[in-house]
Protein backbone atom coordinates (compact mmCIF):
# COMPACT_ATOMS: atom_id res chain seq x y z
CA UNK A 1 0.00 0.00 0.00
CA UNK A 2 1.25 3.43 -0.86
CA UNK A 3 2.31 5.58 2.04
CA UNK A 4 2.48 9.32 2.44
CA UNK A 5 4.15 11.75 4.78
CA UNK A 6 2.26 12.90 7.84
CA UNK A 7 3.24 15.66 10.26
CA UNK A 8 1.30 16.41 13.40
CA UNK A 9 2.43 19.68 14.95
CA UNK A 10 1.16 21.50 18.00
CA UNK A 11 2.47 24.91 19.09
CA UNK A 12 4.73 23.32 21.64
CA UNK A 13 6.18 20.37 19.77
CA UNK A 14 6.27 18.19 16.70
CA UNK A 15 4.02 15.41 17.97
CA UNK A 16 4.29 13.00 15.06
CA UNK A 17 6.26 12.81 11.86
CA UNK A 18 6.66 9.90 9.48
CA UNK A 19 5.33 7.78 6.64
CA UNK A 20 1.84 6.39 7.20
CA UNK A 21 -0.82 4.42 5.32
CA UNK A 22 -3.95 6.22 6.42
CA UNK A 23 -5.07 8.98 8.75
CA UNK A 24 -8.65 9.47 9.90
CA UNK A 25 -9.37 13.06 10.81
CA UNK A 26 -12.26 14.48 12.84
CA UNK A 27 -13.14 17.32 10.48
CA UNK A 28 -15.36 20.21 11.55
CA UNK A 29 -17.91 19.15 8.95
CA UNK A 30 -17.55 15.40 9.42
CA UNK A 31 -14.82 12.79 9.72
CA UNK A 32 -12.73 11.99 6.71
CA UNK A 33 -9.90 9.63 5.92
CA UNK A 34 -6.76 10.57 4.04
CA UNK A 35 -4.88 8.07 1.88
CA UNK A 36 -1.89 8.58 -0.38
CA UNK A 37 -2.71 10.78 -3.37
CA UNK A 38 -5.57 12.64 -1.70
CA UNK A 39 -6.66 15.85 -3.44
CA UNK A 40 -5.30 19.09 -1.91
CA UNK A 41 -7.60 20.23 0.84
CA UNK A 42 -7.58 22.58 3.80
CA UNK A 43 -10.02 21.63 6.54
CA UNK A 44 -10.82 22.77 10.03
CA UNK A 45 -10.77 20.15 12.77
CA UNK A 46 -13.10 19.73 15.71
CA UNK A 47 -11.92 18.32 19.04
CA UNK A 48 -11.84 14.57 18.55
CA UNK A 49 -9.74 11.48 18.08
CA UNK A 50 -7.39 11.19 15.16
CA UNK A 51 -6.42 7.69 14.04
CA UNK A 52 -3.09 7.00 12.36
CA UNK A 53 -2.70 3.68 10.56
CA UNK A 54 0.77 2.40 9.77
CA UNK A 55 1.17 -1.16 8.47
CA UNK A 56 -2.03 -2.38 10.10
CA UNK A 57 -1.22 -0.75 13.44
CA UNK A 58 -3.57 1.91 14.75
CA UNK A 59 -2.47 4.80 16.86
CA UNK A 60 -5.02 7.12 18.37
CA UNK A 61 -4.18 10.72 19.11
CA UNK A 62 -6.50 13.20 20.74
CA UNK A 63 -6.57 16.60 19.06
CA UNK A 64 -8.45 19.58 20.45
CA UNK A 65 -9.26 21.50 17.31
CA UNK A 66 -6.98 22.87 14.63
CA UNK A 67 -6.41 22.63 10.93
CA UNK A 68 -5.50 19.91 8.44
CA UNK A 69 -3.74 20.57 5.16
CA UNK A 70 -3.28 18.02 2.42
CA UNK A 71 -0.91 18.89 -0.39
CA UNK A 72 1.25 16.85 -2.78
CA UNK A 73 3.92 16.83 -0.06
CA UNK A 74 1.62 14.99 2.32
CA UNK A 75 -0.64 15.74 5.23
CA UNK A 76 0.03 18.31 7.88
CA UNK A 77 -2.19 18.70 10.91
CA UNK A 78 -1.87 21.85 12.98
CA UNK A 79 -3.45 20.82 16.25
CA UNK A 80 -4.20 23.21 19.08
CA UNK A 81 -3.36 20.43 21.51
CA UNK A 82 -2.20 16.93 20.59
CA UNK A 83 -2.02 14.18 23.17
CA UNK A 84 -1.57 10.50 22.45
CA UNK A 85 -4.08 8.21 24.09
CA UNK A 86 -1.54 6.69 26.48
CA UNK A 87 -0.38 10.07 27.74
CA UNK A 88 -3.84 11.39 28.44
CA UNK A 89 -4.68 11.97 32.05
CA UNK A 90 -8.30 10.83 32.23
CA UNK A 91 -8.95 12.34 35.63
CA UNK A 92 -7.70 15.70 34.46
CA UNK A 93 -9.75 15.42 31.28
CA UNK A 94 -12.87 14.80 33.34
CA UNK A 95 -12.00 17.81 35.45
CA UNK A 96 -11.65 19.96 32.33
CA UNK A 97 -15.14 18.92 31.25
CA UNK A 98 -16.57 19.68 34.69
CA UNK A 99 -14.89 23.07 34.60
CA UNK A 100 -16.32 23.81 31.16
CA UNK A 101 -19.81 22.92 32.37
CA UNK A 102 -19.29 25.23 35.28
CA UNK A 103 -18.20 28.08 33.03
CA UNK A 104 -21.17 27.73 30.68
CA UNK A 105 -23.20 30.17 32.74
CA UNK A 106 -20.78 32.98 32.06
CA UNK A 107 -21.24 32.84 28.30
CA UNK A 108 -23.96 34.49 26.27
CA UNK A 109 -25.32 34.42 22.72
CA UNK A 110 -23.11 32.92 20.05
CA UNK A 111 -20.34 32.44 22.55
CA UNK A 112 -22.65 30.18 24.54
CA UNK A 113 -23.40 28.14 21.42
CA UNK A 114 -19.70 27.73 20.73
CA UNK A 115 -19.01 26.74 24.32
CA UNK A 116 -21.80 24.14 24.24
CA UNK A 117 -20.57 22.78 20.93
CA UNK A 118 -17.05 22.47 22.29
CA UNK A 119 -18.32 20.79 25.42
CA UNK A 120 -20.23 18.27 23.32
CA UNK A 121 -17.07 17.42 21.38
CA UNK A 122 -15.19 16.90 24.63
CA UNK A 123 -17.91 14.68 26.00
CA UNK A 124 -17.97 12.57 22.87
CA UNK A 125 -14.20 12.09 23.19
CA UNK A 126 -14.69 10.99 26.76
CA UNK A 127 -17.45 8.63 25.74
CA UNK A 128 -15.26 7.04 23.09
CA UNK A 129 -12.43 6.74 25.58
CA UNK A 130 -14.58 4.92 28.07
CA UNK A 131 -15.97 2.69 25.35
CA UNK A 132 -12.52 1.59 24.22
CA UNK A 133 -11.36 1.14 27.81
CA UNK A 134 -13.98 -1.55 28.38
CA UNK A 135 -12.77 -3.85 25.62
Amino acid sequence: MATFHFDLVSPEKLAFSGEVDQVDIPGAEGDFGVLAGHAPVVAAIRPGILTVTTGGRHEKIIVLGGLAEVSEKGLTVLADVATSLDELDRVQFAETIAEMEENLKEHEGTELDQAIERLDHFKSIQHQLNATAMH
Binding site: P11, V41, V42, A44, S71, L78
Partner: protein, 290 residues
Amino acid sequence: MASLKDMRVRIASTKATQKITKAMQMVAASKLRRAQTAAEAARPYADKMSAVISNIASAAVGSPGAPVLLAGTGRDQVHLLLVCTGERGLSGAFNSSIVRLARERALALIAQGKEVKFFCVGRKGYEQLRRQFDKQIVEHMDLRSVRQLGFVNAEEIAKKVLARFDNGEFDVCTLFYSQFKSVIAQIPTAQQVIPLVIEEGGAANTTSYEYEPEEDEILTRLLPRNLAVQIFRALLENNASFYGAQMSAMDNATRNAGEMIRKQTLVYNRTRQAQITKELIEIISGAEAV
Protein backbone atom coordinates in the same frame (compact mmCIF):
# COMPACT_ATOMS: atom_id res chain seq x y z
CA MET B 1 45.47 53.65 53.54
CA ALA B 2 43.47 50.49 54.04
CA SER B 3 44.86 48.03 56.49
CA LEU B 4 45.90 44.56 55.42
CA LYS B 5 42.85 43.08 57.08
CA ASP B 6 40.50 45.40 55.18
CA MET B 7 42.13 44.38 51.94
CA ARG B 8 41.80 40.69 52.75
CA VAL B 9 38.10 41.21 53.43
CA ARG B 10 37.65 43.05 50.16
CA ILE B 11 39.36 40.32 48.16
CA ALA B 12 37.22 37.69 49.86
CA SER B 13 34.05 39.59 48.99
CA THR B 14 35.08 39.99 45.35
CA LYS B 15 35.73 36.26 45.22
CA ALA B 16 32.26 35.59 46.63
CA THR B 17 30.74 37.84 43.95
CA GLN B 18 32.69 36.01 41.29
CA LYS B 19 31.33 32.70 42.51
CA ILE B 20 27.78 34.02 42.25
CA THR B 21 28.20 35.39 38.74
CA LYS B 22 29.90 32.19 37.67
CA ALA B 23 27.01 30.14 39.03
CA MET B 24 24.48 32.41 37.33
CA GLN B 25 26.32 32.05 34.07
CA MET B 26 26.18 28.28 34.25
CA VAL B 27 22.51 28.26 35.21
CA ALA B 28 21.74 30.60 32.31
CA ALA B 29 23.71 28.36 29.94
CA SER B 30 21.72 25.28 30.86
CA LYS B 31 18.41 27.15 30.75
CA LEU B 32 19.38 28.63 27.41
CA ARG B 33 19.69 25.16 25.95
CA ARG B 34 16.18 24.30 27.09
CA ALA B 35 14.78 27.61 25.86
CA GLN B 36 16.43 27.10 22.50
CA THR B 37 14.95 23.63 22.10
CA ALA B 38 11.52 25.01 22.99
CA ALA B 39 11.90 27.78 20.43
CA GLU B 40 12.94 25.30 17.76
CA ALA B 41 10.09 22.92 18.61
CA ALA B 42 7.58 25.71 18.06
CA ARG B 43 8.99 26.68 14.70
CA PRO B 44 7.33 24.06 12.43
CA TYR B 45 3.87 25.03 13.70
CA ALA B 46 4.44 28.75 13.26
CA ASP B 47 5.93 28.23 9.79
CA LYS B 48 3.09 26.02 8.63
CA MET B 49 0.53 28.38 10.07
CA SER B 50 1.91 31.38 8.23
CA ALA B 51 2.23 29.34 5.02
CA VAL B 52 -1.42 28.33 5.15
CA ILE B 53 -2.56 31.82 6.08
CA SER B 54 -0.59 33.56 3.36
CA ASN B 55 -1.98 31.05 0.90
CA ILE B 56 -5.58 31.78 1.80
CA ALA B 57 -5.12 35.41 2.63
CA SER B 58 -3.41 36.47 -0.58
CA ALA B 59 -6.68 35.62 -2.29
CA ALA B 60 -8.89 37.23 0.35
CA VAL B 61 -6.96 40.42 1.03
CA GLY B 62 -8.39 42.38 -1.88
CA SER B 63 -12.00 41.30 -1.46
CA PRO B 64 -14.40 43.61 0.40
CA GLY B 65 -15.51 40.94 2.86
CA ALA B 66 -12.00 40.35 4.21
CA PRO B 67 -11.83 40.00 7.99
CA VAL B 68 -10.79 43.09 9.94
CA LEU B 69 -7.82 41.30 11.46
CA LEU B 70 -6.42 41.01 7.96
CA ALA B 71 -7.66 44.15 6.25
CA GLY B 72 -7.45 46.45 9.27
CA THR B 73 -9.98 48.99 10.40
CA GLY B 74 -9.04 51.35 7.59
CA ARG B 75 -7.48 53.80 10.03
CA ASP B 76 -4.15 53.95 11.78
CA GLN B 77 -4.93 56.52 14.44
CA VAL B 78 -4.51 54.47 17.60
CA HIS B 79 -1.51 52.18 17.95
CA LEU B 80 -1.15 49.45 20.52
CA LEU B 81 2.42 48.52 21.33
CA LEU B 82 2.67 45.06 22.78
CA VAL B 83 6.03 45.09 24.54
CA CYS B 84 7.40 41.73 25.68
CA THR B 85 10.34 41.83 28.06
CA GLY B 86 11.86 39.64 30.71
CA GLU B 87 10.85 39.29 34.33
CA ARG B 88 14.31 39.67 35.74
CA GLY B 89 17.33 41.83 35.25
CA LEU B 90 21.05 41.03 35.37
CA SER B 91 20.94 40.31 31.68
CA GLY B 92 22.96 43.10 30.15
CA ALA B 93 21.10 45.33 27.72
CA PHE B 94 18.38 42.76 26.97
CA ASN B 95 15.40 44.52 28.56
CA SER B 96 16.47 48.07 27.89
CA SER B 97 17.14 47.47 24.20
CA ILE B 98 13.58 46.22 23.67
CA VAL B 99 12.20 49.12 25.67
CA ARG B 100 14.36 51.58 23.75
CA LEU B 101 13.00 50.35 20.44
CA ALA B 102 9.42 50.58 21.70
CA ARG B 103 10.00 54.03 23.16
CA GLU B 104 11.51 55.37 19.94
CA ARG B 105 8.57 54.02 17.98
CA ALA B 106 6.11 55.52 20.43
CA LEU B 107 7.74 58.94 20.31
CA ALA B 108 7.83 58.86 16.52
CA LEU B 109 4.12 57.98 16.42
CA ILE B 110 3.23 60.69 18.91
CA ALA B 111 5.19 63.20 16.84
CA GLN B 112 2.97 62.24 13.88
CA GLY B 113 -0.08 63.04 15.98
CA LYS B 114 -1.12 59.44 16.59
CA GLU B 115 -2.33 57.98 19.81
CA VAL B 116 -0.22 55.34 21.51
CA LYS B 117 -1.20 52.67 24.00
CA PHE B 118 1.02 50.14 25.70
CA PHE B 119 0.42 46.54 26.68
CA CYS B 120 3.35 45.35 28.76
CA VAL B 121 4.21 41.71 29.14
CA GLY B 122 6.92 41.19 31.70
CA ARG B 123 7.83 43.17 34.76
CA LYS B 124 11.04 44.83 33.57
CA GLY B 125 9.55 46.53 30.55
CA TYR B 126 6.60 47.73 32.59
CA GLU B 127 8.85 49.30 35.19
CA GLN B 128 10.93 51.10 32.59
CA LEU B 129 8.01 52.33 30.50
CA ARG B 130 6.01 53.42 33.52
CA ARG B 131 8.38 56.28 34.19
CA GLN B 132 7.61 57.95 30.89
CA PHE B 133 4.28 56.59 29.69
CA ASP B 134 2.40 55.83 32.88
CA LYS B 135 -0.98 56.98 31.53
CA GLN B 136 -0.69 55.19 28.19
CA ILE B 137 -0.12 51.75 29.69
CA VAL B 138 -3.52 50.10 29.35
CA GLU B 139 -2.58 46.67 30.54
CA HIS B 140 0.27 44.92 32.22
CA MET B 141 0.81 41.22 32.52
CA ASP B 142 3.25 39.36 34.69
CA LEU B 143 4.61 35.99 33.72
CA ARG B 144 6.60 35.67 36.90
CA SER B 145 4.66 32.80 38.36
CA VAL B 146 4.94 30.86 35.10
CA ARG B 147 7.57 28.15 35.36
CA GLN B 148 7.31 26.57 31.95
CA LEU B 149 6.19 28.88 29.20
CA GLY B 150 3.18 27.27 27.55
CA PHE B 151 0.91 28.11 24.67
CA VAL B 152 -1.85 28.91 27.15
CA ASN B 153 0.11 31.97 28.30
CA ALA B 154 0.29 33.28 24.76
CA GLU B 155 -3.39 32.50 24.24
CA GLU B 156 -4.31 34.50 27.30
CA ILE B 157 -2.42 37.53 26.04
CA ALA B 158 -3.91 37.17 22.57
CA LYS B 159 -7.40 37.00 24.05
CA LYS B 160 -6.89 40.26 25.91
CA VAL B 161 -5.52 41.98 22.83
CA LEU B 162 -8.41 40.75 20.69
CA ALA B 163 -10.99 41.87 23.25
CA ARG B 164 -9.54 45.36 23.09
CA PHE B 165 -9.46 45.24 19.32
CA ASP B 166 -13.10 44.19 19.16
CA ASN B 167 -13.96 47.11 21.42
CA GLY B 168 -12.33 49.40 18.90
CA GLU B 169 -9.66 50.55 21.30
CA PHE B 170 -6.90 50.51 18.71
CA ASP B 171 -6.31 50.14 14.97
CA VAL B 172 -2.79 48.79 14.64
CA CYS B 173 -0.96 46.41 16.94
CA THR B 174 2.80 46.00 16.91
CA LEU B 175 4.67 43.32 18.81
CA PHE B 176 8.07 44.09 20.35
CA TYR B 177 10.45 41.33 21.34
CA SER B 178 14.03 40.27 21.04
CA GLN B 179 14.90 37.88 18.28
CA PHE B 180 17.42 35.22 19.20
CA LYS B 181 20.26 35.08 16.69
CA SER B 182 23.00 33.62 18.85
CA VAL B 183 24.32 33.81 22.39
CA ILE B 184 26.04 37.09 21.68
CA ALA B 185 23.49 38.59 19.28
CA GLN B 186 19.88 39.30 20.18
CA ILE B 187 18.05 41.64 17.88
CA PRO B 188 15.20 43.76 19.26
CA THR B 189 12.42 43.44 16.72
CA ALA B 190 9.13 45.18 15.97
CA GLN B 191 6.52 43.13 14.15
CA GLN B 192 3.10 44.33 13.08
CA VAL B 193 0.48 41.71 13.93
CA ILE B 194 -2.81 43.56 13.43
CA PRO B 195 -3.61 44.03 10.60
CA LEU B 196 -1.59 41.07 9.46
CA VAL B 197 1.21 41.70 7.00
CA ILE B 198 1.33 39.05 4.31
CA GLU B 199 4.82 38.26 3.16
CA GLU B 200 5.46 38.58 -0.54
CA GLY B 201 6.38 35.43 -2.43
CA GLY B 202 4.02 33.33 -0.39
CA ALA B 203 1.60 33.34 -3.28
CA ALA B 204 4.14 31.76 -5.62
CA ASN B 205 3.29 28.18 -4.66
CA THR B 206 -0.46 28.40 -4.81
CA THR B 207 -1.90 24.94 -4.93
CA SER B 208 -5.61 25.06 -5.59
CA TYR B 209 -6.99 23.69 -2.37
CA GLU B 210 -10.44 22.66 -1.55
CA TYR B 211 -11.71 24.29 1.58
CA GLU B 212 -13.87 22.76 4.22
CA PRO B 213 -15.64 24.79 5.56
CA GLU B 214 -15.45 27.86 3.30
CA GLU B 215 -12.28 29.91 2.94
CA ASP B 216 -13.44 32.94 4.86
CA GLU B 217 -14.72 30.81 7.69
CA ILE B 218 -11.36 29.11 8.02
CA LEU B 219 -9.71 32.49 7.84
CA THR B 220 -11.82 33.91 10.65
CA ARG B 221 -10.89 30.92 12.78
CA LEU B 222 -7.25 31.06 11.87
CA LEU B 223 -6.48 34.74 12.27
CA PRO B 224 -7.05 35.03 16.03
CA ARG B 225 -5.15 31.81 16.44
CA ASN B 226 -2.29 33.15 14.38
CA LEU B 227 -2.01 36.10 16.74
CA ALA B 228 -1.55 33.73 19.65
CA VAL B 229 1.02 31.77 17.67
CA GLN B 230 2.98 34.93 16.87
CA ILE B 231 2.91 35.99 20.51
CA PHE B 232 3.95 32.53 21.61
CA ARG B 233 6.87 32.60 19.21
CA ALA B 234 7.86 36.04 20.45
CA LEU B 235 7.76 34.85 24.05
CA LEU B 236 9.92 31.84 23.27
CA GLU B 237 12.42 33.91 21.29
CA ASN B 238 12.48 36.37 24.16
CA ASN B 239 13.12 33.60 26.63
CA ALA B 240 16.06 32.26 24.66
CA SER B 241 17.40 35.78 24.14
CA PHE B 242 17.10 36.53 27.82
CA TYR B 243 19.23 33.58 28.85
CA GLY B 244 21.69 34.28 26.06
CA ALA B 245 22.04 37.89 27.19
CA GLN B 246 22.28 36.86 30.80
CA MET B 247 24.93 34.30 30.01
CA SER B 248 27.19 36.75 28.21
CA ALA B 249 26.56 39.45 30.84
CA MET B 250 27.50 37.06 33.63
CA ASP B 251 30.51 35.85 31.68
CA ASN B 252 31.70 39.46 31.50
CA ALA B 253 31.02 39.97 35.17
CA THR B 254 33.00 36.86 36.08
CA ARG B 255 35.92 38.03 33.99
CA ASN B 256 35.80 41.52 35.50
CA ALA B 257 35.74 40.05 38.97
CA GLY B 258 38.80 37.93 38.12
CA GLU B 259 40.62 41.01 36.90
CA MET B 260 39.66 42.88 40.05
CA ILE B 261 40.86 40.05 42.28
CA ARG B 262 44.19 40.04 40.45
CA LYS B 263 44.68 43.77 40.97
CA GLN B 264 43.61 43.70 44.59
CA THR B 265 45.90 40.77 45.36
CA LEU B 266 48.80 42.63 43.78
CA VAL B 267 48.21 45.70 45.93
CA TYR B 268 47.74 43.50 48.96
CA ASN B 269 51.05 41.67 48.45
CA ARG B 270 52.94 44.90 47.83
CA THR B 271 51.57 46.46 50.98
CA ARG B 272 52.37 43.35 52.95
CA GLN B 273 55.97 43.30 51.69
CA ALA B 274 56.38 47.00 52.37
CA GLN B 275 55.21 46.45 55.90
CA ILE B 276 57.62 43.54 56.48
CA THR B 277 60.50 45.59 55.14
CA LYS B 278 59.50 48.47 57.40
CA GLU B 279 59.41 46.19 60.42
CA LEU B 280 62.80 44.70 59.57
CA ILE B 281 64.35 48.15 59.30
CA GLU B 282 62.89 49.03 62.67
CA ILE B 283 64.34 45.89 64.27
CA ILE B 284 67.79 46.35 62.68
CA SER B 285 68.07 50.01 63.53
CA GLY B 286 66.89 49.19 67.06
CA ALA B 287 69.61 46.53 67.38
CA GLU B 288 72.26 48.93 66.07
CA ALA B 289 71.32 51.59 68.56
CA VAL B 290 71.99 49.26 71.50
